[in-house]
């Protein structure tokens, strides 16, 4: 089985160490410095330069003091490294590949920035690295040499324009776990062989159910077109609460119907055209 992540949201304390460790290791710039007012979430979403993102879901009973139904859910989101990856299907240059660890990897030196992958991701994970990413908001003091002069992100320097989690391909090749899993203080993010992780996760759900915590795995034994997610999650709320699609759909799923209707249209147009020409004659 491939390597992947098991993110257990019941252990997450929302410290965002994963976000920071990811950006530091992968030398990604900040996405800007604006207060959102959206709980403690100011980076708001995964992007070409934010590859781990912690979402904060406040479910507060405002008027009942300390009501037991109060919850503040935190979840560290990441690229799912789908078994059937929409981005990979859509990539016309072959830049997106499945690497030796079974992870979906964008080769930055092959990517030409067409952006097909962006619209093909059922989770909205992949994004192009904005032109502004290397400029005002980027702390150039952290860079060295020529990249500093050219104000480029690490990815831009290697030619890449579409960005997402690599599952720390470079670290894995050297036998290290990904930076986010390494930095997580509470083992909310666990890295390893997906089969083993799934095993562990299922036991975890059982334990939680015994304690009366309603929980389930998102992306395991999936019947969705994306297949099992190699980065899967233990959730205690319906997926929408975390901005996850309840039924992720691979864009290619729509293709047969699309082709069929196109073919039908072509036939109809041919017939209509023939009829017009026939009458004209």
């Amino acid at each position: 089985m491939p390597n992947g992540f098991f993110t257990d949201t019941t252990l997450c304390i929302g410290c965002k160490a994963c976000e920071v460790a990811c950006k530091q290791w992968n030398e990604l710039p900040s996405d800007g410095f604006e207060f959102s007012g959206n709980s403690y979430d100011n980076t708001l979403q995964l992007s070409g330069t934010t590859w781990r993102h912690v979402s904060f879901v406040e479910q507060m009973e405002v008027d009942r003091e300390g009501s037991l139904t109060d919850r503040w859910l935190m979840m560290s989101d990441v690229c799912k490294h789908c078994t059937h990856a929409g981005c990979m299907d859509a990539c016309p240059t072959g830049a997106i590949v499945r690497n030796e660890f079974g992870n979906v990897y964008i080769q930055p030196d092959v990517c030409n920035g067409c952006g097909y992958c962006v619209v093909s991701c059922p989770f909205g994970v992949v994004d192009l690295i904005g032109k502004g990413a290397g400029h005002d908001d980027y702390n150039v003091a952290n860079l060295n040499g020529d990249r500093k002069d050219r104000q480029e992100t690490a990815l831009q320097a290697t030619g890449g324009v579409a960005g997402k989690c690599t599952l720390c391909y470079d670290r894995q090749r050297d036998g290290f776990e990904p930076a986010c899993a390494k930095a997580c203080p509470t083992e909310s993010i666990q890295f390893g062989d997906v089969a083993e992780l799934q095993e562990r996760a299922k036991k975890r759900v059982e334990t939680l159910q015994e304690r009366g915590v309603d929980s389930y795995l998102y992306g395991v034994d999936s019947k969705d077109s994306v297949g099992d997610l190699n980065a899967f999650f233990l959730l205690t709320e319906r997926p929408e609460a975390y901005n996850l699609p309840p039924k992720p759909v691979l864009p290619a799923t729509h293709q047969p119907a699309g082709y069929a209707s196109a073919a039908l249209a072509a036939v109809a147009l041919t017939v209509a055209g023939a009829a017009i020409f026939a009458r004209a004659r």
């Binding site: 929302g14 710039p29 900040s30 207060f35 007012g37 100011n42 109060d70 702390n139």
Partner: protein, 872 residues
């Protein structure tokens, strides 16, 4: 508990059956240590979080309990009352290991008798301080020692002793004047109803906490407490911790695995800072600084005041003489009292806050700031900035330009009118220097240098070493006796590596070796502080660290062999590598573990010694049945069943006869700025709290209609200080100063989520973004729950430098202090709030010199004194 550190260690929290987190946002401020709380939770422990705000800690706790900021003594006192009333305390532990059985003097009067005051109180002498203020006005530079004004005479607080000098006891705990009886009476008014009325905590939640603590303490189970500055930064801060200590002693959780009180330190080396005495009133190893007020001008006089007749502190002379030998080397001899008179003598409170006032009044000429940013993170930050304008010179050692180093060009300042000569020394970060850090586990860990300091930056050690060398050179030819402390100071830290030596780097290994201690006769390292002597044959820069460098080639701070728990081979924890303090108490009086489940340190009858998973915090071969020797000194005065070795009687102090200025038992007083009257006593505030009534330190009045909301300050995970604001990856996570407001208040005042608000106190105004959240919960307090209380949360991490932006909470908070440790009050305040932004900063009244009548010599604070009963 008698030692300057947490009684337990983070890794042991995983063994707790219940963890009460109060006065701390553990998950946010200490996320890495919090993993052990999560481990405990996974093992089935109940996690309780008591806090004014629903935080990321509350989010993962099993029980969140709301509380009004500043009312924790009522909450904890309520639990004490509940335990005693329902007989749910750990009786055998309390009877054997605490001073519950000690007898009070007949003339002791409790707050129950005197409506919020203890016996022995007399009002501070106003006349005397006025006279010295006049002397000051006359331009006299030679200050009289500003002696402590007489307030509490503690003689009536002393416990009764028999003719041999041993403490009288009633083992049945029924004597009407025994400590336990006093506790019952003292806390009897802290009822669940009172808790609800004062704290705003619903009774059901409060009782659930009581039941959880009692059910998870005793022989088979233990409960741990964790707190941080949410408990300390109050005018009754020390008494907050005292209440927790009483509770944990009653529950029998001190010295036992999964128990104890985890004092969480906010920064990497805060523990080291107090251990090795950057505090003005301490010598290394928690020895008091000599004081002219206590008449300690000779070594004999000093030792007479500070050596305790019984218990471990009977060893004080050995530690003091060894420090002097470390400081002054061969110049320190028995004939000259080991150069004791080289040490400065305290003339009053010279902690940070009084010194800032003295600076503002022109009494301080120079200021060296290292690794601190008082112009932002200090309270009354504008006072700090204007005080710095009156300096002759100022040195800042830091690795970023910050608000303190740039006070002269801040908004509203006129650099052309500021005469202070400013120096900025760029310092190396942790990656650019080697040495030890001491963490919240009292653990020294060595770290190596990863890279050379960048550019012109230097290490902190370089700065101080070369400063010392230059001072010595400047005074080399002086024959003036007052210059001898510098001339005779040992300063032999030359690096052995020629490359480092060329750069002027000292050897921090040599520093650590000196702190550890060595024989002045053979020059060999000393392995244990029990080998230190008071005859000058040993030198040690800080006795508590002795053992970290036991021989020439062993640096235990480098140890890196961990296990899942005590990890004795990882780093070095003071004292003597003990991880859990007072761990003798993990065994019953006979030396057997209280239970198999909570086995830790016990008496091995066959070997005739204490053994277990930790280094025993007890004389190793002193059998549990060893009787106390009547009339003996030192440790012989304790029996083999007295675990609290630092205390006079070897017992846990439920009642503290000596050492606290504001009372032997905790009492609820409202914060200086409060929106309500004290519902428990006529006395509104801590009568001994320290204050400065000056126009540059304006206080909100008590129960002031202009400031109707409670304000509390705190840190957030993403930000620390200026050094995190410069990191874009952190700055984007919390980019702007914000405050947290409950939706009800936001609607009432027309505040929009994400919009601007201005927060005001009598001291000043700041602006911030509003984060409107149901996590902030309005409370109902008072009789019949008739008063609605809104609390506003304000993170203090923001400032002008770095990638974030925003005002600092320091501009709202007037200075006041706890009487025991001079800590400011910044966790419980009052304020007003309105939508919209503040006006541009003007140079206000604070910039003008303060009238002489409002000043005090050396910036000393005044004692608040007895309130005219506000609700009489």
């Amino acid at each position: 508990m008698g030692r300057g550190g947490a009684t337990t260690f983070l890794q042991d929290l995983q063994n707790a059956d219940c963890i009460l987190i109060e006065g701390s946002n553990f998950a946010e401020a200490h996320p890495v240590g919090f993993r052990f709380v999560m481990k405990a939770k996974e093992r089935g422990a109940k996690i309780i979080h008591v806090d004014p705000r629903y935080t990321r800690t509350s989010a993962v706790a099993d029980l969140y309990v709301p509380i009004r900021s500043g009312s924790d003594i009522v909450f904890l006192g309520g639990i004490i009352n509940w335990l005693l009333a329902n007989e749910r305390y750990f009786k055998e532990y309390v009877a054997a290991f605490t001073n519950a059985s000690s007898i009070l003097r007949e003339d002791f009067k409790d707050t129950e008798d005197l409506d919020g005051i203890f016996s022995g109180y007399s009002e501070p002498q106003e006349a005397e301080s006025a006279a010295s203020a006049q002397a000051h006005e006359g331009g006299s530079q030679a200050h009289e020692p500003s002696s402590e004004p007489r307030t509490y005479d503690t003689s009536s607080w002393q416990l009764e002793k028999d003719e041999n000098g041993a403490f009288k006891r009633d083992p049945t705990l029924t004597h009407p004047r025994c400590v336990l009886s006093l506790l019952r009476r003292h806390f009897s008014r802290y009822t669940p109803e009172m808790v609800e009325s004062v704290c705003g905590t619903p009774q059901t939640k409060f009782l659930e906490v009581c039941e959880s603590l009692a059910a998870n303490s005793g022989r088979e189970k233990t409960t741990a407490f964790a707190y941080a500055v949410g408990w300390t930064q109050h005018t009754v801060g020390v008494q907050y911790i005292r209440t927790a200590a009483i509770l944990q002693l009653l529950l029998g959780n001190i010295g036992r695995p999964g128990g104890g009180i985890m004092a969480l330190r906010g920064h990497a080396n805060i523990q080291g800072a107090t251990d090795i005495a950057t505090l003005y009133d301490l010598l290394p190893g928690y020895l008091p600084m000599p004081s002219i007020v206590r008449d300690e001008q000779t070594l004999d006089a000093y030792l007479k005041t500070n050596t305790k007749p019984t218990g471990w502190w009977a060893n004080t002379p050995k530690y003091v003489v060894s420090i002097l030998k470390a400081f002054y080397g061969e110049h320190a001899t028995a004939a000259n009292d080991y150069c004791f008179d080289y040490l400065p003598q305290l003339t009053g409170d010279h902690s940070m806050l009084p010194t800032t006032f003295a600076m503002k009044d022109g009494d301080v000429k120079g200021y060296v700031v290292v690794g601190q940013n008082p112009a932002t993170s200090g309270q009354n930050a504008e006072l700090v900035r204007t005080a710095m304008e009156r300096l002759d010179w100022f040195v800042n050692v830091d690795f970023y330009e910050n608000e303190t180093s740039s006070f002269w060009k801040r908004e509203g300042a006129d650099p052309s009118k500021i005469a202070t000569e400013c120096f900025f020394i760029p310092s190396g970060t942790i990656l650019e220097k080697e040495g030890t850090m001491v963490n919240t586990n009292r653990m020294l860990q060595w770290h190596d240098k990863a890279i050379e300091p960048i550019g012109e930056s230097v290490t902190d050690a370089w700065f101080f070493y070369n400063l010392g060398k230059r001072l010595k050179a400047l005074y080399a030819d002086s024959t003036d006796p007052k210059d001898r402390p510098i001339a005779h100071m040992t300063w032999d830290y030359e690096h052995d590596d020629p490359h480092e030596r060329r750069k002027g780097e000292p050897s921090v290994v040599k520093v650590l070796k000196e702190v550890n201690g060595f024989s002045t006769v053979t020059g060999e390292q000393i392995a244990s502080f029990t080998d230190l002597k008071d005859d000058g044959s040993t030198a040690s820069g800080g006795w508590i660290y002795t053992g970290v460098y036991p021989d020439a080639h062993t640096n235990k701070a480098r140890n890196r062999k961990g296990d899942d728990w005590t990890s004795l081979e990882w780093g070095f924890s003071w004292p003597a590598n003990r991880r859990l303090l007072y761990n003798r108490a993990s065994a019953d009086p006979e030396g057997r573990p209280w239970s198999e489940r909570k086995k830790y340190v016990w008496w091995d009858e066959a070997k005739g010694e204490w053994t277990g998973v930790d280094v025993p915090d007890f004389p190793k071969t002193k059998a549990p049945n060893t009787p106390a020797q009547p009339g003996a000194g030192g440790m012989d005065a304790h029996s083999g069943a007295d675990p609290f070795i630092m205390q006079l009687d070897g017992r846990g102090q439920l009642f503290v006869a000596s050492g606290l200025k504001d009372g032997p038992l905790p009492v609820h007083y409202e914060p200086l700025a409060s929106v309500v009257e004290n519902q428990l006593y006529a006395q509104q505030n801590n009568p001994l709290l320290r204050e400065w009534r000056r126009r540059d330190n304006a206080y909100n009045g008590a129960i002031d209609a202009a400031y109707p909301y409670v304000l509390t300050t705190y840190r957030i995970t993403e930000m620390s200080g200026v050094y995190t604001r410069y990191v874009p990856w952190l700055a984007e996570l919390q980019p702007e100063a914000f405050c947290e407001i409950d939706p009800e208040l936001a609607v009432t005042l027309g505040i929009r989520n994400g919009g601007w608000v201005t927060i005001a106190t009598a001291l000043g105004e700041i602006e911030a973004r509003a984060l409107v959240s149901g996590r902030m919960k309005p409370l109902r307090i008072g009789p019949g729950k008739g008063k609605r209380i809104h609390q506003i949360g304000l993170p203090y991490n923001f400032g002008n430098f770095g990638f974030t932006s925003g005002d600092t909470s320091g501009d709202l908070i007037a200075l006041s202090m706890d009487p025991n440790v001079s800590i400011h009050e910044s966790k419980s305040l009052t304020c007003n709030i309105r939508p919209g932004r503040r006006a541009a900063r003007r140079r206000g009244i604070v910039d003008e010199a303060v009238p002489q009548s409002q000043r005090s010599p050396e910036g000393q604070a005044k004692i608040h004194g007895k309130d005219a009963a506000p609700h009489a």
